[in-house]
């Protein structure tokens, strides 16, 4: 139990915060219901994928500044491919775009491994490259998305055996998110590859000496990041029905949520659940601020304060909880 708390305490605390925020939301807007929860889930979708993309590389001891640009590129690619195409064609577009994200992500990894330039610089450079490529694909927002794809995030999932009121709280967007993340994350977490990703983030030298193929593992971590980012890009196209070549605010948001979610920026620690809950928390805070009709400029201040305060609080309890005298 104490080990569980030590390992998962932060995530549990975050979850409690989320529940608390739901209660607050219900108090502010008593009519807040399942439909609004569905809106929240849809808003979470691109952020959650961005954060998943960031989490994988951060655990592997890196950082990926190209997440948002990758989302933009995959989004415009999907949107321009589906523009004027048949509904069935989208069946091909989706795997194609996912594969593209995977390959481009792997390319990030290869560049890092081969050039030995720090990851922050390589991904900054690929940020520009991917942005440029997105502009070449679509000079201005446009394109289209297949109707069945758009429908895949609207409405709820009927779960047999559950009463209707409960079904209403399972929006398709949430189900889609959970399925996409779990399909990749759970097998990964259990595999040696997953261990290797944690290992190179925790101590690269020790990992190398334990026989972990460090370069290959790093490339795969970035490839997975690219894959998640492509899912994020697709989710943008699906929810807006277009592709936009200018990246949205997902880069900084992803870094913030990763840290809020208890993943150490040095690597090796944390999981995917924390950052995803953190995304929900951040989105719900925004909903609450809108519901309260707070001055939008003050909103920026509040969002910044929350980010700093939560992380400071986390740091504070870890300082308190650490055996005295030890430095991090």
């Amino acid at each position: 139990m104490s080990r569980f708390l030590r390992n998962q305490g932060w995530v549990a605390g975050l979850f409690a915060l989320l529940i608390f925020l739901f209660v607050v939301t219900k108090l502010i807007q008593p009519a807040y219901g399942s439909g609004d929860f569905g809106s929240l889930a849809r808003a979470v979708l691109p952020y959650a994928f961005a954060v998943a993309a960031q989490t994988v590389v951060v655990i592997a001891g890196g950082i990926d500044l190209s997440v948002a640009a990758m989302m933009a590129l995959t989004s415009v690619t999907a949107a321009s491919m589906m523009n004027g195409a048949s509904e069935e064609y989208a069946l091909f577009v989706v795997p194609f775009v996912l594969a593209m994200g995977f390959v481009l992500g792997a390319l990030n990894g290869v560049l890092i491994v081969v050039t030995r330039v720090p990851d922050i610089v390589v991904t900054l450079a690929t940020l520009f490259v991917l942005q440029g490529a997105a502009l070449l694909v679509l000079g201005a927002p446009g394109g289209a998305a297949a109707e069945w794809l758009k429908a895949s995030v609207i409405g709820t999932v009927p779960i047999p055996g559950l009463p209707d009121w409960a079904d209403a709280w399972v929006p398709k967007a949430l189900a889609l998110l959970v399925v996409c993340l779990c399909i990749i994350w759970i097998p990964l977490r259990r595999s040696r590859l997953g261990l290797s990703i944690y290992a190179i983030g925790s101590n690269e030298l020790a990992a190398f000496r334990s026989g972990v193929p460090v370069a290959r593992t790093r490339i795969i971590a970035y490839a997975l990041s690219g894959l998640f980012a492509a899912m994020g890009g697709l989710s943008l196209t699906i929810s807006t029905g277009i592709g936009a070549p200018i990246p949205g605010p997902y880069l900084l948001a992803s870094v913030a949520a990763v840290v809020l979610g208890g993943v150490a920026l040095g690597g090796g620690k944390g999981g995917l659940l924390g950052p995803i809950i953190a995304v929900f928390v951040l989105r719900l805070v925004r909903t609450d601020l809108t519901l309260l009709a707070i001055d939008p400029n003050v909103t920026a201040i509040i969002e910044g304060l929350i980010m700093v305060a939560v992380v400071m609080f986390g740091a504070f309890i870890t300082i308190r909880g650490r055996p005295v005298g030890a430095t991090p």
Binding site: Q29, R42, A43, A140, P141, L236, A244
Partner: protein
């Protein structure tokens, strides 16, 4: 005193034009006396983020939503949901594709066409133009590009010497024009997408030959048109106060006075300092007390009723 709650969604922050738009919305809501509360979602984000904001406004049960769309098509789903929830939707500044929404918009294509045509005429229908666009990939930029290209097609002897994207950022634009001037390439005119005063500054600083400059009606640039010696130029109006007009339209609809068409276009005007009539117009428009990034056209006749003090105070109902 008012009875309505109006939601506002905007996706660009920290730019004078957008700030004026928001202040116009607040001032108009206050001046109308019909609005109890404004609920403003105002941040830097993309279409997906705007969808989130619109849905949050739906959750907040506002009566109307006035939106400056990040992208005309990208927020269709959200606007549709809003209409279904019985909310009046008004798009300002740019059109939207959702048919149930009302649109009161600046005509971006016309904006570029008007300025470019004037510029090419000033150049005598021939020569090289420096084409300083906005942000690559933004929908307003591509609309303006259409207008510019339309004018260019009418003047076959005008050539684009160089095309750059300023990203609507002052520092980038200034660095670009300085680099360009340093090459010594001769040009006969400069078209800007509203990042204008830094361009004139650069010409003055570098003691480069003054060429005609087209910009927007930003207070700084309008001031320069009046005072900078040797500068021939034109400001094309692109009133940020369109936001106030959007609030007025939303209130009219809520009060049951629907407009004849779904779309109301506010056509830009061109103020130039090449003629005496134009000079007089510019003189009266100039307003050195405004922040240089704010467009001087702080009101739109027939559509806004607030005073200058009200928009400058930037206070909405209940503030």
């Amino acid at each position: 005193a008012g009875k309505y709650t109006i939601g506002i969604s905007n996706t660009v922050q920290g730019n004078g034009w957008r700030e004026e738009m928001i202040c116009a919305m607040k001032a108009q809501a206050l001046a109308s006396g019909e609005v109890a509360k404004l609920n403003i979602a105002h941040r830097n984000t993309d279409a997906a983020g705007q969808l989130e904001d619109i849905r949050n406004l739906i959750s907040a049960k506002v009566d109307a939503i006035v939106v400056n769309p990040a992208d005309p098509a990208g927020i269709k789903a959200g606007l549709e949901e809003a209409t279904k929830a019985g909310i009046v939707v008004v798009a300002v500044d740019q059109a939207v594709t959702e048919p149930s929404a009302y649109i009161i918009s600046n005509n971006q294509e016309q904006y570029a066409y008007l300025g470019a045509k004037w510029l090419f005429q000033q150049m005598g229908g021939k020569g090289e133009v420096f084409y300083m666009r906005g942000a690559a990939g933004a929908s307003a930029d591509s609309d303006r590009d259409k207008g510019f290209k339309k004018a260019l097609a009418e003047f076959p002897d005008v050539k684009v010497a160089q095309e750059v994207f300023t990203g609507w950022q002052q520092d980038q634009a200034k660095q670009q024009i300085l680099s360009f001037l340093a090459t010594g390439t001769p040009i006969n005119g400069i078209w800007t997408s509203g990042i204008d005063n830094v361009i004139v500054d650069a010409l003055v600083e570098q003691q480069a030959p003054m060429v005609p400059v087209v910009g927007a009606d930003n207070a700084g640039f309008v001031g320069q048109l009046n005072t900078v010696k040797g500068l021939v130029g034109a400001a094309v109006t692109n009133p940020g106060s369109i936001g106030g007009a959007g609030v007025t339209l939303a209130l009219q609809i809520l009060d049951g006075k629907k407009p004849a068409q779904q779309t109301v276009l506010v056509n830009p005007e061109l103020w130039e300092n090449a003629t005496d009539a134009g000079k007089a117009k510019l003189k009266s428009a100039a307003d050195p007390s405004l922040s240089p990034e704010w467009p001087v056209s702080i009101s739109i006749p027939d559509w806004t009723t607030y005073t200058k003090d009200q928009i400058v105070a930037c206070k909405g109902p209940g503030e």
